[in-house]
Symmetry: C2
Subunit: 197 residues, 2 copies
């Protein structure tokens, strides 16, 4: 029903460290994949407690919208982000030569178009938007982003890829929920209200 | 006992809007000064509820460290930030010509020096650090910043003065408290742990 920007973010506002270093990415996403029972063998497992409930909300979304860079850096999710839901990949160039190699993946050049199609595909489930600064800014400007679900990880990266830049000035939010997750991760949800400019 | 960075900050990480516009500054600091009983006459009053308790913590600090720009933009606090506690103003040029015009104010050129002197002056009370990006970065690098008290205001400013830049890479934090304040303001405290680089 809602399009929800879902991002893990450092306290200083980055969604990836400099040069997308693997160590920094793991720092931000560790809470998602490593439960207490992961043990020392390093096999990911769904986390426990509050973090588990937040992961389950993500897994309950009915479509994913993601920019092409993130899609490719994530190994194209092996064609299935979660549960076989449709994936709309934002790509200014449209489809790659030869078309999509994954049946669940559709390439769309316009953010607003992608979000509307994802909303239709998701039906009564939420749409998960997993994007960088450009995607967020364009989605807000298009009036197609309903909520933020930020997972604030207790680290200062110092530099890297910021989530917030290029934003339209002056967008009011309403805080709808705060959850204190394990590993010091704070899950804050906001509803996007309106611009005052 | 602790040096605490205390800042109101937008969700996108700004501590002031572009060109320090009064409207934006008020947006970030409204929660501090306008209680429910302020009414329509526009007279500030201490807020109620959770926000009140957070304001009272600020008023209980025993010294203030502030960069000169912030000090001057704040009307030099009329020489008294709160309760007659000493104010250490960070100024690369040291004291202005003619010396300080306020008995509580001391100009100090080095951040580490200012924080150590403030700590001594505060005794068993906390030191409130109210600074911008440069102050934060230098205080962390000097190992003289113990905690963050961030008051996250539910707005996206889009542009302005960021709190976090020039930071040393990779500083771990420990979340010590989350309070859901009124007006959608989320008060998050972190302890500064250590750098991993």
């Amino acid at each position: 029903m809602a399009t929800v920007l879902d991002m893990s973010i450092s306290v200083d506002g980055y969604i990836a460290g400099p040069n997308e270093e693997p160590g920094h990415i793991e720092q931000l996403h560790h809470w998602l994949f490593w439960g207490a029972d992961s043990g020392e063998n390093g096999v990911p497992s769904i986390p426990d407690g509050v973090n588990r409930s937040v992961v389950q909300e993500i897994l309950a979304t009915g479509a994913v919208v993601v920019p092409r860079l993130t899609f490719e850096q994530g190994g194209e999710f092996h064609g299935d982000h979660h549960g076989g839901v449709p994936i709309f990949v934002l790509s200014r160039g449209g489809e790659p030569d030869g078309g999509s190699r994954w049946p669940l993946v559709t390439y769309v050049s316009d953010v607003g178009d992608a979000l509307r199609r994802a909303r239709t595909a998701a039906g009564d489930r939420d749409v998960m938007v997993h994007g960088g600064a450009g995607t967020v800014a364009r989605a807000i400007a298009a009036g197609e982003l309903d909520e933020f679900a930020l997972h604030v990880v207790p680290v200062l990266l110092g530099t890297g890829r910021p989530l917030f830049s290029e934003l339209p000035a002056g967008t009011r939010l309403t805080r709808t929920r705060v959850l204190e997750g394990e590993e010091g991760v704070t899950h804050i949800r906001y509803r996007v209200d309106r611009s005052w400019n």
